[in-house]
């Protein structure tokens, strides 16, 4: 389990990073926390003659709140999400999601940008980004652009990034009034990737009815997905009238999850529906507090 030979680059600026990526094309890969990339290299499931380490690049790490937005630098460790009181206050869902990612040793190294860019369909953070409508700041050799979370995830381990682009930061809207959120998943063991999971973000209007509903599911498709049918059924409803089991079923109506050795597709759907019911109930409960 030794990776194949590669050349290691450790630039200090985003410009140098994107220049290296542009120069080496698909022979090159950015390295962030290494918690997904390094095992894949060691198992020789993948190999790149050039690795560009993002860990020494200026300005990629840190958390900043401004004008209703929380901006998190790409190389910020996942562990920060669960420890920074500012994050827990501004976007509590991030603080609730982080402990579900692997084990703390992994979160000490693993980065927020790495998890999003790696785009594992069973990952927590992509589903959170999708439910909250996060925005990705992206840099490439020809400048910067932003990509909405809804457009970012294009398939298993694939995103809208060009090979010579990196994520530099992610922006999340700060939690609004009368809003509640929850994440829940079913994993075989503590720290495992989820078999299926769900995220909910619910807002109530002054009359106590659902004014906005976002549900995203992970582990059920090649990308995290919004449960738009279930969301539509929630908007305008009074929490007391909501049958969360029914919402769970509705959320999975359009999904056909696939089999793996841990669960069949229909089992995944059953589990996802169950956890969706749980997160909707929890989010509504918090929103009404």
């Amino acid at each position: 389990m030794k990776p194949g030979p590669f050349e290691y680059h450790a630039p200090h600026t985003v410009a140098d990073v994107t220049a290296l990526l542009a120069e080496h094309g698909d022979e090159c890969k950015p390295l962030a926390g290494g918690q997904s990339l390094v095992p894949m290299l060691a198992l020789r499931l993948t190999g790149f003659p050039h690795l560009v380490d993002l860990n020494r690049v200026d300005g990629l790490s840190g958390v900043e709140r401004s004008n209703g937005t929380l901006v998190i630098g790409a190389i910020t460790r996942q562990r920060v999400l669960e420890r920074d009181p500012q994050i827990a206050e501004a976007v509590p869902l991030l603080a609730r999601a982080a402990p579900l990612i692997g084990h703390f040793q992994i979160r000490n190294r693993g980065t927020v940008g790495g998890s999003l860019a790696h785009a594992d369909p069973a990952s927590e953070l992509p589903a959170v980004a999708l439910a909250l409508g996060a925005t990705f700041d992206v840099a490439g050799p020809n400048g910067t652009r932003s990509i909405a979370a809804a457009d970012f995830f294009t398939g298993t381990w694939s995103t809208a990034l060009e090979p010579d682009e990196i994520v530099t930061a992610v922006s999340f809207p700060v939690r609004g009034e009368r809003t509640g959120s929850a994440i829940h998943e079913m994993a075989r063991r503590h720290g495992d990737f989820a078999i299926a999971g769900a995220v909910a973000n619910m807002s109530l209007d002054a009359a106590g009815r659902v004014s906005a509903a976002a549900i995203s599911l992970f582990g059920v498709a090649s990308t995290p997905v919004r449960a738009t049918g279930a969301e539509a059924a929630l908007v305008g409803a009074a929490p007391a009238d909501i049958n969360t089991l029914e919402i769970g079923r509705l959320a999975l109506a359009d999904q056909e999850p696939t089999d793996d050795i841990h669960a069949t597709g229909p089992q995944r759907a059953r589990i996802a529906a169950h956890v969706t019911g749980i997160v909707v109930a929890r989010a509504l409960e918090e929103a009404g507090r």
Binding site: G4, R189, H190, D192, H262, T264, I271
Partner: protein
């Protein structure tokens, strides 16, 4: 929580003495094979088949040989020539009779079959070059699973054998049909136990060093059994036994995987001799998962005949084990034991069985903590199944059928006799009481009726044959107890402790017998250059065989020390006693001499020794185990099954066990807990799964799931101490936890699912299998 009644504990024996090994292991100062580095050492990487079955058309090594830093790329053409047997000394060659070579030539038989070996200046270079070895294979249809192997006209794994059934042993007693015809109930079911693997934390590994000038081969190994490793290395390489030395220091787990030296380590030994170099090979985790040994993989059909009160009238057991592609010691070899020991803790008037092992295109089957534990798994699962079928509570069923004290000695229908040192009835009652069986049954009903929750309780009762005295060379151990001139003591043993704490327990026995402090005793094992030939550590035998060898050798040393002391003190040797390092006259503690002074005289003032006595103070003694020593235990657990997700949560886990006189209760508890964790892991998490083409699907820890501390409940261990008929009164304890736990967990889940009239017969019980069962029944 652990409750321990140490019974008649001595100053050291029977005490939870802190493990001597722990300070070095816990501070990272353990020495494992990968810590070994020799000057000029090379590194090896195997090239393995990535198809399950196929004819090798060609192996092109040119590109690999051209890589900078590569010293050799070897195939069977170079390395298989003139090899001796690769089979263990304890072998059932008649059953297997399939020759194994270092590197497969001709036809590959499983994914992971080694076909070439790259030897290079670093492991990284070896891996780079291994990727360039081009193995061209014509695929053949793979034989995967029992049905495929037994199918009429199936492709043959070993065509020269003419059949995939490699072992076929029927033991059919007359009268079964009559018993069934007269029985009130006949219940039959088939149980599958899935394939698992040992997963030691330290994978296999070897540093093999051959010196062409002296002709000596020195192997540093991770092994349970250094002397066996020396023998087999000698046979495969042709280097005579006295020129082979095997050294093992710390061993990071084995669970049976390191009892016999496997093919890959032998191949490295052969390559070291062939190249005249030192070579390191540390197995990586993927190799360990797919190509070391697999285990379990049994299919057992049990037919029980019962009278109207549920009492056993007889049993018929049909056992098939999946032996994989190559023989490992034996061809599978556990199947007959499943039949022979099926009786367990019950009064069983009649037993017949049929045991078969089949070859398949999968990784070879080897020993894993309780290699024939399917006898317990199948029997205990069948007990619950049958009790349910006749409408009787499984605890009640066990109470009616268990062998009670009054029944002892009890001879099983396979002519094995349980003497009066077992206590199955007492452990059954203790485990059921501690788990609060009746109260749990009430809570189970309430939770189901008012909340729809699925709670379940399971029991598993067994008697384990330990330390087999019939199986040479596993039946004997030799201890050399050597007192140094300062009075300190070193004990040389042929054992291969791989987590059992033998450096502590054996020192406890020696210190107790010699009446000296345990800090004055060091136990040296794992080096063939310094230890007498021994059986290694396995088969729940070290307490019985090793400790009794230590006890006998220590007694001889003590006798000699008394003789010397008697001369020095002008007292009678049989009036003397020793404690706290001082030999005194019984009843007159003021008259005494230090043990250390006696030792000094034995070496340094030999003129003072009794007339005709040899100088020095040491003794060597060999202990041969009785034919079998029986240990017994009962496990009980409660679970909750989540009907939405299929997840099983263990609520409580209780063990009541009788391993005879305990040397170190804390170590006993550790052995039991470790076995139970493996049993729980086996049922709920671990599954070495293959696809129908023979591709292994659990090749990393992402898919081969081991239980972690977060998944394991507190294990509540209770002891009943009935001494065994051997000098120390010990029984085995290494394997029992892993034998009892799987059926216990399975029975609890089956009990929970029975609330919904859902029946299960197969392990594992991951969420996938639990949901399959629930969904198939419309839940």
């Amino acid at each position: 929580m652990t409750t321990t009644d140490a019974g008649s504990a001595g100053r050291f024996v029977g005490q939870s003495v802190r493990r001597k090994e722990d300070p070095r292991l816990l501070t990272g100062r353990g020495t494992y094979v990968d810590d070994m580095s020799l000057p000029g050492m090379l590194h090896a990487c195997f090239v393995r088949s990535n198809v399950a079955h196929g004819r090798i058309v060609s192996i092109d090594c040119d590109a690999a040989r051209a890589v900078d830093g590569v010293v050799a790329v070897l195939t069977g053409t170079e390395l298989n020539v003139g090899r001796g047997s690769m089979q263990p000394t304890l072998m059932f060659e008649d059953a297997a009779n399939v020759a194994v070579q270092p590197l497969t030539e001709g036809t590959v038989l499983f994914v992971g079959d080694p076909v070439a070996l790259v030897v290079a200046e670093s492991r990284a270079v070896a891996e780079d070059a291994a990727e360039l070895v081009e193995v061209n294979i014509d695929m053949l249809e793979a034989v995967v699973g029992f049905d495929a192997a037994l199918l009429e006209g199936a492709p043959l794994v070993h065509p020269d054998k003419g059949a995939n059934v490699g072992q076929d042993m029927p033991v059919i007693m007359p009268g079964w049909d009559e018993i069934k015809a007269d029985a009130a109930h006949v219940v039959s079911a088939t149980f599958n136990q899935h394939r698992q693997t040992n997963v030691p934390m330290e994978t296999r590994g070897i540093v093999a060093s051959f010196d062409p000038a002296s002709g000596e081969l020195h192997a540093y190994l991770s092994t349970q059994n250094p002397h066996e490793a020396r023998l087999v290395l000698s046979r495969v390489t042709g280097v005579p036994e006295h020129l082979v030395r095997v050294t093992a220091r710390d061993v990071g787990g084995g669970f049976g995987q390191k009892m016999f030296l496997f093919r890959d380590e032998q191949t490295i030994g052969a390559a070291a001799v062939y190249l005249g170099r030192s070579i390191k090979w540390i197995e990586d985790r993927r190799e360990n998962l797919i190509a070391s040994n697999h285990a379990r993989a049994d299919r057992t059909t049990v037919e029980l005949a019962l009278d109207a009160d549920g009492k056993l009238l007889g049993a018929f057991v049909d056992e098939v084990e999946d032996a994989g592609a190559w023989p490992l010691g034996s061809m599978g070899g556990a199947a007959p034991a499943v039949g022979a020991y099926f009786t367990g803790a019950y009064k069983l008037p009649f037993l017949s069985w049929h045991a078969r092992a089949v070859w398949t295109n999968t990784c070879q089957r080897g020993a894993y903590r309780g290699p024939w534990m399917m006898e317990t798994t199948a029997r205990e699962q069948m007990v619950d199944y049958a009790a349910r079928a006749i409408g009787m509570d499984p605890w009640e069923w066990r109470r009616r059928n268990v062998v009670k004290d009054a029944d002892l000695p009890y001879t099983t229908p396979m002519f094995m006799t349980y003497d009066d040192s077992i206590s199955p009835d007492a452990t059954l009652e203790q485990a059921a009481q501690v788990i609060d069986y009746d109260a749990f049954r009430a809570e189970q009903r309430r939770a189901f009726e008012s909340e729809g929750r699925l709670l379940g309780v399971g029991l598993s009762l067994y008697i384990e044959p330990c330390a087999m005295g019939m199986m040479d060379p596993l039946s004997t151990e030799t201890a050399n107890v050597r007192v140094m001139p300062s009075g300190k003591v070193s004990v040389a043993l042929g054992t291969g402790s791989h987590g059992q704490g033998l450096e502590t327990t054996m020192a406890q026995v020696v210190a107790e017998e010699l009446g000296i402090d345990i800090d004055d005793v060091i136990v040296v094992q794992g080096d063939t250059a310094s230890s007498p030939f021994g059986r290694g550590t396995g088969g729940s035998g070290s307490a019985i065989i090793g400790a009794n060898a230590c006890r006998l050798a220590s007694a001889a040393v003590r006798d000699k020390a008394f003789a010397i002391a008697a001369q020095l003190m002008e007292a009678a040797a049989n009036d003397l006693e020793v404690s706290d390092g001082r030999i005194t006259v019984k009843g007159t503690p003021a008259r005494g001499i230090d043990f250390a002074e006696v030792a000094r005289v034995a070496y340094l003032e030999t003129a003072k020794l009794p007339e005709g006595m040899e100088a020095s103070l040491e003794a060597t003694h060999t202990y041969k185990a009785p034919p079998v020593t029986w240990a017994n235990a009962c496990h009980a657990c409660t679970v909750e099954v989540d009907r939405y997700t299929g997840l099983v949560k263990i609520l409580r886990y209780v063990v009541s066990e009788d391993c005879g006189k305990m040397i170190n209760p804390a170590i006993v508890d550790g052995q039991i807990a470790g076995g139970v964790v493996q049993g729980i892991g086996g049922v709920l998490f671990e599954h070495m799964i293959y696809d129908p083409d023979g591709n292994p699907l659990a090749t990393t820890f992402m898919d081969y799931l081991l239980p972690t501390a977060a998944e394991i409940p507190t294990i509540e261990i209770h002891h009943i101490e009935t001494p065994a008929p051997n000098p120390g009164g010990h029984k085995g304890v290494g394997e029992g936890g892993a034998i009892g736990a799987p059926a216990c967990v399975f029975n609890a889940v089956a009990d929970a699912l029975a609330l919904l009239d859902v029946t299960i017969t197969d392990q594992p019980l991951g969420p996938r299998e639990v949901l399959d069962a629930l969904m198939a029944a419309g839940h």
